[in-house]
Symmetry: C2
Subunit: 377 residues, 2 copies
């Protein structure tokens, strides 16, 4: 018998050179992970993961990191991303710009990209994906949904043999923490929000969390991997006509009375991000062109529903489809080190020669709104 | 700036040619998945997954499959695995032989291997891994633990940034189904076993399940990925000195009285597979050379413990470590189509050029008992 060609391609053992853009909570934790225990990380990645450049708006954020002197430091993300020899751009700046330009420029220059930026992906994912396909470079974003809860590769790759019918998740830790306080400590919404802000679980402007915008961004990303379609964030319903918090987006209108009414029925109120295939004509119309309906709504869930078990800032995602039935994953939805661990997992995947997070879940429907972007940029 | 070399290697678009060995419940479901909806599978794998050879002891097991005429059929696994041009050998024969020879011969011939054979991996995993390292060919085995519950790549790759301290799982569906019947339907052990056999959830000889041997094999595999060590199956404690079912292996000695006593304390009895790093001197001695302690014991668990939520043949695995805290995954622990989906996920990974399931979790400790095997065989 003739021995066939090996199924795997020999991986490079050369260092994977990383430019890290942003030293917020996640960025600083990524830097710490890359600088600590490098032998173990090298063994797991099969090659060194070498931090070669960093962009930081404030040098104070670097205090105590023990940054080696050969790491290029700048306050300009573009400059850090284009340092000669950079293999991977890690974008943890957040926001649409300059993150979007840096990500797209990196892709077009043939660099791999790892991003934790759910808002950018939800807003411009279709364009970013088209650019990545054109340049053949991997784009990974495990940290964009679930924090340290490993759900994206699981959905796209581990469950490649599942026909996903529906995803339901608690994917916003801030609102879940607030709902916990309202239910368990008897606080009203304003007091629970103040407590969340004091504990560092809510921003000074909490509306992106409270109104379900953050969860909707994450649901757009989950839907891309589950259904092969980029929904527009505004296609995600965020205001319920009835039920807890009816009339307001997300949990903004959820009251103590809503939570107590649910408790009397043996149920809990959670902010549920849900997307599913439309099944009948009426739903299909509501589901839009792609046939996928998506919502982020405060809902009553049964106490034995896995979503009821989401505690504090924890995330729970329930994936339903054939032939599996139900697969559930839960873990830490927030926290710098846990979210950084998702970034590290993406870097290790790239070091091993893996492609993009969406590779095993190709687009099945191209949104009419998608702006195609060529490789030439 | 000089554009760097692309981080990914261009993947082949040529068909991935598959030899499928075994047409039991899982093997037949793998064949069905490979023959159905090939366009979708090709899109997800990036190239066709082409069934080119099958080994079946009974032609009757092929009835209704609609096998294309160009698939080589034989009753000899070795003959099927060595058909010219085979890229991947899928071993779902079960048992130690001829599975072990076919797997090792395939690896040494440079073929990729996908196996669902937990017993083979637990018995000869160290030898198989050494052979795979020597020949540079990927070996994947997602279906060996958890059935359709995606836990192995999650543990080795998605959680590559976690320092795993402990794994706890319900990983044997048969015993869980039996414990459910004893608790929920008030059956004694013998009646529950008979019901499981009638429902097709237990073998005629159920001892591998009841005595915890099957769960111990799975725990050996989980421990390899969590702790970088191949435990010997006999290092897994299966007889408890006290507690439910004390004195007998697995759940063999669990009585209705044990289950009722647990219920009075608000708890449930589960067969818990658990492995963790030894923490003190005494435990370290008990943990053996590798510093890992492992057991498969009937235990009382709190009702809010995720393991208590394992229902019927469902599996639940709880992974604990820093910085994540706890990550939990649950799903179908049995069933041909769901387990076949895990085999398909491995084939897709190989089609995308990924390496072995253990790649991101290199060995940290080589067992003294391991018989090193060279590439020459």
């Amino acid at each position: 018998m003739a021995p066939p060609a090996p199924a795997t391609r020999p991986a490079s053992r050369a260092p994977l050179r990383v430019a890290l853009l942003g030293v917020g909570t996640v960025g600083r934790a990524v830097a710490e992970a890359l600088l600590a225990d490098t032998d173990r990380l090298t063994a797991r990645a099969g090659r060194p993961l070498k931090l070669v450049a960093m962009a930081a708006r404030s040098r104070r954020r670097l205090d105590g990191l023990g940054l080696p002197p050969d790491v290029v430091l700048t306050d300009d993300p573009t400059a850090a991303a284009t340092v000669g020899g950079v293999d991977v751009v890690v974008e943890v700046l957040g926001g649409l710009e300059p993150a979007g330009s840096v990500v797209l420029d990196g892709i077009r220059a043939g660099r791999a990209v790892v991003t934790a930026n759910k808002h950018l992906l939800a807003a411009r994912g279709s364009e970013i994906e088209a650019a990545a396909l054109a340049s053949g470079t991997p784009v990974r974003f495990e940290a964009a949904v679930g924090g340290g809860t490993p759900v994206l590769r699981l959905l796209a790759a581990d469950l490649v043999g599942m026909h996903v019918e529906r995803i339901r998740g608690v994917v916003n830790g801030t609102t879940n923490w607030i709902l916990d306080r309202m239910e368990l400590d008897g606080l009203d919404g304003a007091a629970a929000l103040a407590a969340a802000q004091a504990a560092g679980y809510a921003e000074a402007d909490p509306s992106l969390d409270l109104d379900g915008v953050d969860a909707a961004d994450k649901l757009v990303i989950l839907s891309r991997l589950a259904f092969g379609v980029w929904l527009r964030p505004e296609e995600v319903q965020r205001v319920a006509p009835d039920g807890p918090g009816a009339g307001g987006p997300g949990i903004s209108a959820v009251s103590r009375a809503d939570i107590e009414a649910a408790a009397r029925r043996g149920r809990r109120v959670r902010l549920v991000a849900e997307a599913g295939r439309s099944t009948d004509r009426d739903r299909s119309e509501r589901g839009g062109e792609a046939g996928v309906e998506a919502s982020v709504l405060a809902r009553e869930v049964d106490r034995d529903d896995p979503l009821a078990s989401a505690s504090g800032v924890g995330n729970v995602i329930v994936i339903e489809g054939a032939p599996h039935g139900v697969v559930t994953v839960s873990g830490p939805g927030a926290g710098g080190p846990a979210t950084a661990a998702a970034v590290i997992a993406d870097l290790v995947a790239i070091a091993h020669g893996e492609g993009s997070t969406w590779d095993a879940s190709p687009l099945t429907h191209r949104a009419a709104e998608a702006a195609p972007v060529g490789a030439a940029g």
